[in-house]
Amino acid sequence: MNMPPETGVRAAAAALVLIFALIPTLGLQEYWIYILTIGFFYAVLASSWSLLVGYVGRISFAHAAMAGLGAYTSAMASTRLGLPLYASIPLAALVVGCVGLFLGRICLKLHGAYLGLTTIAFSEIFRIAVTAEHGFTRGSLGLQAPGFFATNGRAQYYYLFFIFLLCVLGTMWLLLRSRIGLYFAAIREDEDAAASLGVHVVRWKVMAFAISSMIAGLAGAFYAHFVQLVAPSMMSLQEMGLILSMAVIGGFQNIFFAAIGGVFLEVLLELMREIGGWRMTIFGLAVMVVLRYAPNGLVGELIRISYRHVRGWVT
């Protein structure tokens, strides 16, 4: 049978979605259901980071901080202001989107190392401020947040995060297939050429930052009401490094590859728990190797090799 490669990829993606949808019914330990739920959270972060880096060509190390900001905003809005979660979570997304808009605007003229360093500075300022502000955020003790459900059923949270991930990926996919996606790609390829053809480069660079941040904030808000305790450590540079590793190892030039990287590395992180801090060292090395030898990430490389073999069989 001569099946086009795209059909094969779509079939594999559908199979993956089906497998993840069935996992809680397969008798897997609750602990692993919990780990996969966290994996979905990281998948949202890694894919929204790849939206900015892979599709628009703008680097940011403030993604973990944006997730933290979303988590704190929703936790505080629900505990201090008494807002229901269906109001506090959109509020968190809106606040983080606005902060992303502001950060995107001040970073507009910055590129490469300067842009990266500015986002690191923002991230650290925010983390330190949250840690220091005991009265408001309870500092490193962490802030409690109400849960989504009355009972802490793992499967309920699993499906909530799974559907959330699918919705985020679907929305980003539609965005990237629209004319806005075309503007993003044009800006990534050449800003001057894009501008000379009528693309409002400033607007779309800032919007990309805001959209990517808003998704991170939304993920952070969901996370807060899942783990029910928000701490400044979720905004650390180590967390940012983890998100970066997930996106790069999965493949940061494709939101779906990055998402798979998120789930895969979270599971791997747990499997390698016994080696403790060495896990991050290994991930760091893996990032370097992948960037050098498989710039499309492991998922991209896997698909490329599969194509080659399928073509070999057909011919």
Partner: protein
Amino acid sequence: MSQIAVACVEKRFGGLVALKDVSFTVQAGEMVGLIGPNGSGKTTLLNVLSGFYQPELGEVHYDGRTVNGLEPHQLALAGLTRTFQVTKIFRRLSVLDNLLVPGLTEWTSSRKTAVAEANRILQELGLDHLAGEMASNLSGGQSKLLEFGRVMMLSPKVILLDEPFGGVHPTLKTLMHEVVRGWNAQDITIVLISHDMGSIFDLCKRVLVLHNGALIADGPAEEVRRSPRVVEAYLGTKSVRAV
């Protein structure tokens, strides 16, 4: 009414004066050549006209209004567009998508119409068989044609061409000449920078000459070709004396 009017424009980069007191006008539907030795300020002038650089002094008028301070995308949407000396195609996009970027910059434009227009232009340029190909796979000449196709998508009133014939095969160059003549026949104003004097004198009736940032000649092509100042600027004083 002149389509482009440049009045006493000065552009500096630190201590370097790249353009000094440059003034000229270009009428609607005119095709003007812009020549000068390397470093004379030709591309800087094009960058000023297309909004990439803002002049320190002087004014640029387009279609009767001052456009100082306008961004390149605003000028492009107003019908003033350009190509680049070093081809700037979107390498990781398909040939068709390269054309759809300018085709979809207006929010009112429909994708269906843009795709139809892009396919028509690709056919006109002989690139229709490459529509789905990644732009990175195109040859140098095909990339130049793709740049031509992209500016056509904007239905421009003015096209600024920066060295469009550099390194292009003679057969392809002939095709590009035809395309440029076709634009001009549709009353599109063209400012053409080229080191290829054959192309300049073949296509343009009027030529502007820049030297060290100053406009040293502006007139009919034949007159400019014989101007001692222009010959001196290109060959140097000693060479001219020897000739």
